[in-house]
């Protein structure tokens, strides 16, 4: 079977997700300006430890091999280690994303002693000024301290996870050097206009010239750098980047949010892309296998306005979430279409009329945060 027909199979959906993100909590010690889930404050409807374990039981029965845990900051949950251990004991590997605030020497040693565990430390700049403008004051030092602690505890190869913005594209080589220094693996992903990111996307997303820079850099380093296959829209520039060239939402990917709602992917926390809730009868398995939303996403999708474009096979029209939250039609070009085919449509959408995320767990605005948002938009 050729790679292409395998992609066609995957578009029809798998029996269980291969990339399941589970955000454990909306609580977070940080307030990043591009947070996909608008996190900050805990939601009182948050799943209990017992409910969380029930989900892990279901995922084990579905033979989900591993999960990506995020938040919010997942380590703020008191039962974080309990859930981690329960998951791994049930044959579900865990990769979790953290800002590193809670990885002190003792926690680093505890994490290093566990099997089937990957850690991603989020970092959006190789210096405090670049990073903290997006992730908040002190967050650079926080991440570096966590990396030092993991290194000292001989954790092994953790990951440094970077959201690529206009302000850090020029630092890609330095990020790679930083990762090499810690014996870590670099992961770079695409900035999405989701959550609070919807408010900052216009100022932070890479320019078209920078997109070409990212593409060329990935062609050169792609085999050693993880991307979550998030840059497939750049394939329209030429040779395909390594990875799966398709939108996996509802087909091979999904998100479980802290209150048990299941969304098509981590970038579309909006009622329109909500498939159900794990608390409903039948639990997660029923949502994955039978929800109307996921079944419709597994039907052949229209290329719409992109149908006549020669690059459609290469870029697949890009990211559904990016289109949705910038107010573009889902069957048209991605807002960052490298051919510029979305530019005109984007220019006539009045700012503020785009769909808004259904929930916002941001902390009340403080003067500090206002200041940071402004400094991030230079």
């Amino acid at each position: 079977m050729s790679a292409k027909s395998l992609v066609e199979e995957m578009k029809r959906g798998l029996d269980a997700p291969i990339c399941l993100t589970w955000e454990l909590t909306y609580a977070c010690n940080l307030q990043c300006v591009h947070c996909l889930s608008s996190s900050g404050q805990r939601d009182e409807r948050e799943l209990s430890t017992e409910e969380a374990k029930k989900i892990l039981d279901d995922l084990r029965d579905l033979q989900v091999f591993y999960i990506n845990i995020g938040g919010g900051e997942p380590m703020v949950r008191r039962d974080f280690f309990e859930l981690l251990e329960y998951s791994v004991a049930n044959g579900i590997g865990v990769k979790f994303s953290t800002n590193g605030a809670f990885i002190d020497e003792e926690k680093a040693q505890r994490l290093a002693a566990m099997d089937y565990l990957d850690i991603q430390i989020s970092l959006d700049g190789v210096d405090a000024a670049t990073n903290d403008a997006v992730r908040g004051e002190g967050s650079y030092d926080m991440a570096i301290r966590a990396m030092e602690n993991l290194k000292a505890a001989n954790f092994g190869q953790f990951k440094i996870s970077v959201v690529v913005t206009r302000h850090n594209v020029s630092q890609l080589d330095q990020f790679k050097a930083l990762a090499d220094h810690y014996g870590a693996q670099l992961r770079i992903t695409r900035l999405r206009p989701a959550g609070r990111g919807a408010d900052t996307w216009h100022e932070l997303h890479p320019t078209n010239a920078q997109q070409r820079e990212i593409y060329n850099w990935l062609l050169k380093h792609g085999e050693n750098v993880l991307t979550g296959d998030s840059f497939f829209h750049l394939n329209a520039l030429g040779e395909s980047l390594p990875g799966l060239n398709m939108c996996g939402a509802g087909r091979v990917v999904c998100l479980i949010d802290p209150i048990g709602d299941v969304y098509a992917c981590p970038f579309v926390i909006h009622d329109e892309f909500k498939a159900g809730n794990v608390r409903d009868e039948g639990g997660f398995a029923k949502v994955w296998k039978q929800s109307d939303l996921f079944l419709s996403l597994r039907e052949p999708q229209s290329a719409g306005a992109c149908a006549s474009c020669g690059a459609f096979d290469a870029c697949q029209g890009g990211c559904m979430a990016a289109k949705f939250f910038t107010g573009l039609p889902l069957d048209g070009p991605d807002p960052e279409c490298v051919g510029g085919d979305a530019d005109e449509a984007l220019s006539i959408i009045s700012r503020g009329s785009e769909p808004k995320p259904s929930m916002d767990h941001s902390k009340p605005v403080t003067l500090t945060r206002k200041k940071l948002s402004v400094s991030a938009s230079h």
Binding site: M1, L6, D15, I18, Q63, F65, Y66, G93, Y116, D118
Partner: protein, 92 residues
């Protein structure tokens, strides 16, 4: 190692196999790699390896016609490279 009809193989103990309509997905918990088994017959063979003395007897037992054996040996070689299967360890 080169896989041949007389090779003695087993599923790698760190690999889990999940059936899918196109065949199966295999996940290696050690190297974190996801591998696609793109034909249901290959899945059957891989899952039967541990119950038979060698590759040839596994293929026979799974009802694979001899003219298809070379392509199955090739498939098993590539799966050996990606550590989905390995030479059977005496202790196991």
């Amino acid at each position: 190692m080169t896989v041949a009809l007389e090779s003695v193989l087993e599923i790698h103990p760190q690999v889990a196999v999940r059936p899918e309509t196109f065949g199966a997905l295999a996940y290696h918990y050690g190297n974190r790699r996801l591998i696609f088994l793109k034909h249901p017959d290959v899945v059957t063979v891989v899952q039967s390896l541990n119950s038979h003395p060698d590759v040839q007897s596994t293929l026979s037992a799974c009802g694979v016609a001899p003219e298809r054996w070379p392509s199955f040996v090739a498939a098993l070689s590539s799966l050996e490279t990606s550590e989905v299967v390995r030479e059977r360890q005496i202790a196991s």
